[in-house]
């Protein structure tokens, strides 16, 4: 049965992205058409360089497409300015990078809190939510530590807590277990399981079979094209 547009969190049509490398143009994404419904958990697989990260960057508004349409939560991101995109990311999208990317000068608690400061949440609410999120990822005892004092797995859990700070509708995770050992990878899988249970829309770029199993649907990218859909 076809989905209503209002049920779609992400809708792309003929999405293309090319980069200029010197005189050569490298097409990274070629005519991607992908719809992700509210509450859906989608895994994107594909070899390195197939365009997974680029697709997530376009969906989050970090990058802009060369051509095609991209609607996220009803907003056409291709035509918005930088300030709008910044606010949009802050309120509606939680992004988790493969390499954690925590701000090294801020403590764990401050790293989780800063997206809430940008949307001007009251201090008491920030404090309460930070405590809740750190408890969720099992890191309340690390609140006052700096990222350099944490292990890779712990840093990635902080990154998830940060991504959830403003309770975004859409969670994007770029190979969240890619740099982690099995034990830490399992902890991240548990966090994603919890997000799925809470009805969040999740798109994960991954090679991890455990995460693919968790997904409602897996799409594969090969040389910039969606080659298969496993629904």
């Amino acid at each position: 049965m076809p989905m209503k547009t209002s049920d779609l969190v992400v809708a792309t049509h003929s999405l293309c992205k090319a980069y200029q490398l010197g005189e050569a143009e490298v097409e990274v994404l070629k005519a991607i058409t992908l719809n992700v419904a509210r509450g859906e958990f989608v895994a994107i697989c594909g070899p390195s360089g197939s365009g997974k990260t680029t697709l997530l960057n376009l969906v989050s508004g970090i990058d802009k497409p060369t051509s095609g349409r991209i609607l996220v939560l009803g907003q056409d991101l291709a035509v918005q300015d930088e300030d709008f995109l910044a606010e949009f990311r802050c309120s509606n999208v939680g992004f988790v990078f493969q390499s954690y990317n925590l701000v090294s000068t801020l403590t764990v608690a401050e790293n989780v809190a800063f997206p809430m400061e940008w949307v001007r949440s009251p201090a008491a609410e920030i404090e309460r939510r930070v405590a809740d999120l750190l408890e969720t990822v099992g890191l309340q005892h690390r609140a006052n530590h700096f990222p350099a004092q944490l292990s890779g797995g712990e840093q990635q859990r902080v990154a998830f807590a940060r991504a959830l700070a403003n309770d975004p509708e859409l969670i994007l995770a770029d190979e969240p277990t890619g740099n982690l050992d099995t034990k830490n990878g399992q902890k991240i899988t548990q966090v994603l399981q919890m997000l799925k249970a809470n009805g969040k829309t999740v798109i994960v770029a991954t090679h991890d079979p455990a995460l693919m199993q968790l997904a409602d649907r897996t799409v594969c990218l090969e040389e910039g094209r969606l080659t298969s859909k496993n629904e």
Binding site: D83, A86, T105, A148
Partner: protein, 615 residues
């Protein structure tokens, strides 16, 4: 890889950093060379020219200011060179480690970066010397300075070149040698190439807003570079304060002293020749020459009682003062003092030709800046000497006496006086009249009520005096006063703008520091942007860093600058509320200008796409 090919390529690869380093080095060398050339031609030229025209007291104030500013400009130049070469080479520590890790021998990597340092230093110094000469040529040919110009001293070029090349080499080699000693892994660590401190134990401003928190902690983390820039900018602000605040305070102080000594809104009544001679004596500051072999005691110059009575009858005259002016040979009288049971002689038997002015102590209209005191009523054997006479003919004037026509007078004060450039002695009028058998004064100073129309009073005065003696003329001293004050103002303006180049070089260094800050934080800024920070948030973080650096150095520099100015360079300064406002205006303008310019790399960076920053 060729030993010169790599350095050239590496320098070209870092276009912005190389340009900033070269530009800072060039401006720094140029500013120091310009100061030396300009001071020699104009600045010290002024004092050497003025040495014949200015009083010794004023000459001393100018020369000590110029010397102080000169030392500071040179110090700033040295610190700038050390800072930029440190910055340049510290940023290469990581590359040093990477090349070593790839298997390149230590000595070869060292030579690559050493050649880079030599290239940048050589080019910067050559360009700086050229720019220094060009600027000096351009400034010296501006109308106001043409009168003082002389050929530039070309020996300053090798002096500045060698000094700055060596400074740069020493400070640039230090981080390079440090990198050579490190293992490849240690050299690659950000701890080394950004001068970051270990760990993040210090949670500065944990309750403050996010931008302030990130900005302040990054500054603390980049300790070594931050401390260097704060120390360096403090010296720049010290230099600025001394030259700007010092010049303004010194200008106000010297102007006030000249105005008080000459008398504002004061008229001179004298025979026309005598009047012109006295005006010339007053205007020697601005290069006027008095007539030689002038007979001051010519009976024709005497102002009769009848003329003085006319002064009493004209309304609008607040006061008047009779003076007898003549020229005498003054002899220093040797004195002795006792110290630890030993007799120590003071002075010698020096002689000097000086202007002698007889005054009625209780009626003098002038208020001199005096070391000691002025003459007292009824004491006929006292004298006050001008500052230049005190310097050339006495050792400790206040402990000595002078002899004039076989009459000995105790020196009770030394005054700063523009008349005859301080080669002047003030003595009681009656005593001078009796020494010269003169019964009448030869000049009268007249002070008008401030409420009257001066032109009307002058006209009436001229008419009444013409009835007594048609040669008696009324002169306005304001013109001579304005000449003197204008000349002093021009000299102080020159001193005030001498550090302009240093300010430009300092701004470039601050921009260089911000570039370092951006490079160190670029990945985190990209993350913040990806998490929803607007470009202006990044600019705000960098602006806060720039402000913290600027304010801390501003506070230190200004405190020491004001102390240096008031305690070392200028005693008993005249500081009005307008003086304070003027100084604050200039210094804040400099601070604000530096702050705005320092934001340029931040704004440029914030406009970049997130992925470009991350890559």
């Amino acid at each position: 890889m060729s030993e010169t090919f790599f350095p050239v390529n590496d320098l070209l690869r870092r276009k912005l950093q190389t340009s900033l380093t070269l530009l800072s080095l060039t401006v720094c060398v140029a500013s120091t060379l310009f100061l030396l050339l300009f001071s020699d031609q104009i600045g010290f030229g002024i004092t050497s020219v003025a040495g014949n025209t200015l009083t010794v007291g004023y000459y001393n104030i100018f020369s000590s200011f110029l010397l102080f500013v000169g030392i500071l400009v040179f110090a700033v130049g040295a610190v700038i060179v050390s800072f930029i070469t440190f910055l340049m080479m510290a940023q290469r520590t990581r590359d040093f480690g990477l090349i070593k890790a790839a298997g390149c021998p230590n000595s070869l990597v060292f030579s690559y970066f050493f050649i880079e340092l030599l290239m940048v230093l050589f080019l910067g110094c050559v360009l700086g010397v050229a720019l220094g000469f060009l600027t000096d040529y351009a400034v010296i040919n501006m109308g106001v300075f043409q009168a003082y110009q002389k050929a530039p001293n070309f020996w300053y070029a090798p002096l500045v070149f060698v000094a700055f090349f060596v400074f740069g080499l020493i400070f640039g080699l230090k981080p390079l040698l440090n990198a050579a000693r490190l293992s490849p892994t240690a050299a690659i660590s950000p701890m080394q190439y950004f001068g970051l401190s270990e760990g993040n134990r210090f949670k500065a401003l944990s309750k403050s807003r996010l931008t302030l928190k990130i900005a302040s902690r990054s500054l603390f983390r980049r300790q070594s570079a931050t401390v260097r820039i704060v120390v360096f900018l403090s010296i720049v602000f010290l230099l600025l304060t001394v030259s700007i605040a010092g010049s303004i305070i010194a200008n106000d102080t010297t102007t006030s002293r000249v105005e008080n000594a000459v008398g504002k809104d004061t008229l001179l009544v004298a025979h026309k020749d005598m009047g012109n001679q006295y005006i010339s004596l007053l205007s020697k500051f601005s290069g006027a020459k008095e007539k030689a072999d002038f007979n001051y005691l010519d009976p024709n110059f005497a102002i009769p009682d009848a003329a003085l009575q006319q002064l009493n009858t004209i309304s609008g005259i607040a006061n008047f003062e009779k003076r007898l002016v003549c020229e005498e040979q003054i002899q220093e009288v040797m004195n002795f003092t006792y110290s630890d049971s030993a007799t120590i002689p003071i002075g010698d038997h020096r002689e000097a030709d000086s202007l002698v002015v007889g005054v009625e102590p209780e009626k003098v209209l002038s208020e001199w800046f005096i070391d000691g005191r002025f003459l007292k009523n009824g004491s006929a054997s006292e004298a006050v000497v001008g500052d230049s006479l005190a310097a050339v003919a006495f050792e400790m004037p206040l402990l000595q006496s002078l002899r004039m026509q076989n009459t000995t007078l105790n020196v009770v004060g030394v005054c700063l006086d523009p008349v005859n450039n301080g080669m002047v002695v003030y003595v009681p009028l009656e005593m001078l009249e009796s020494l010269n058998n003169a019964s009448d004064p030869n000049i009268v100073l007249v002070q008008l009520d401030s409420s009257v129309n001066q032109d009307t009073v002058i006209m009436r005065l001229q008419e009444r005096l013409a009835d007594v003696n048609s040669d008696l003329t009324v002169f306005e001293l304001n013109d001579a006063l304005e000449n003197n004050v204008g000349f002093l103002g021009a000299i102080w303006s020159v001193i005030m703008f001498l550090p302009l180049f240093s300010l430009v070089a300092a701004t470039l260094c601050l921009i260089g520091y911000l570039v370092l800050a951006i490079n160190e934080q670029r990945h985190e800024f990209a993350v913040l942007r990806a998490m929803g920070a607007k470009p202006k948030t990044i600019v705000t973080v960098l602006a806060v860093q720039s402000l913290i650096v600027l304010f801390s150095s501003f506070g230190v520099g200004i405190s020491f600058g004001i102390m240096g100015t008031l305690m070392i360079l200028m005693t008993q300064p005249v500081v009005t509320s307008f003086t304070v406002l003027e100084i604050a205006g200039w210094l804040l303008a400099a601070l604000f200008g530096m702050f705005l310019l320092s934001l340029w790399p931040a704004v440029r960076f914030a406009k970049k796409p997130i992925l470009k920053i991350m890559s």
